[in-house]
Amino acid sequence: MAAKVLVVTSGKGGVGKTTSTAALGAALASAGKKVVVVDFDVGLRNLDLIMGAERRVVYDLINVTQGDAKLSQALIRDKRLDTLHLLPASQTRDKDALTSEGVARVMEDLRAQFDWVICDSPAGIERGAQLAMHHADMAVVVTNPEVSSVRDSDRIIGMLDSTTARAKAGQRIDKHLLLTRYDPARAARGDMLKVEDVLEILSIPLLGIIPESQDVLRASNVGSPVTLADPSSAPARAYMDAARRLEGETLEMQVPGEKKSLLGKLFGRRVA
């Protein structure tokens, strides 16, 4: 299979880009794919912390682009999954140290080694976010059902369609909506934007709906992607379905808190 470069982006901060990068990366790696997750948030890296690899970072993306370290020296192999790797961002360097030529070279090398290259974008629409999306074949747009997040996602979708390498070459970039921090209680009360409202406004296909959950917070506390920390939890199952959809499978969409069958009620909670 040819490598796929995927950017996880949103415009707005705090919506769950890093959590989603780690969870999707681990889910794809669990399915046997060779995966690297790349942190583009220079100066404010956090993917290492969410992956539980913060004590193992010595070299980073900027060291590689500047030739101070080889790619193999900067890649951190996950201790739980041999197929999962992390390329951390620099915490101390200025973000201008990341050049587009340097990133292009690294992305080409990563494409040769991995099935999935997942780029965790920084928030915002500046250079860092543009570099993270530039080489992408696909994008996961992480959005909360909340007005400012939807507006920022719309802006990011516009950028995906205009500033990326694919857009400039007149090619399409595959865009998918990942709705995160979905709160079934608020949805039931009618106090949250509806899934179909968000879909209608952004008009890109839905990859998954991740419920707001303590399990996500617990997973980040212990430094493990939620799909590894607690695979039977609701958010983990939603992420695993989303990963399978990225691989091209068609699965029925689960809306958190909706239409559980009797069987689902009896057995759907915690089977594993």
Binding site: L49, E54, R55, R56, V57, V58, Y59, A69, K70, Q73, I76, R77, Q91, L217, R218, S220, N221, V222, G223, A229, D230
Partner: protein, 85 residues
């Protein structure tokens, strides 16, 4: 999650988060000049080792002690097992 923590309700994760953050921030914030030298030595030693194998940051311990006659520099490096190197 261990068998028991699953069986008897989940273990609290907040203390783990606190410990991880303290450890991380201690490394990122380097204080006075004496500590600075030790930190620089640790970083450079780590950088050399990491060119050849993956190693946890806390497996390289650098300590400096001042005695009456001599100062000592203690460097303790715990190598990863060959399977993971």
């Amino acid at each position: 999650m261990s068998f028991f923590s699953n069986l008897f309700g989940k273990k609290n994760t907040a203390p783990v988060a606190r410990e991880r953050l303290q450890m991380l921030l201690k490394h990122e914030k380097v204080g006075n000049s004496h500590n600075q030298l030790v930190a620089v030595l640790q970083e450079e030693i780590l950088a050399v080792i990491a060119k050849h194998m993956q190693i946890d940051r806390d497996k390289v311990v650098v300590k400096m002690d001042s005695g009456n006659e001599v100062n000592t520099l203690e460097i303790d490096i715990e190598m990863p097992s060959p399977a993971r190197a």
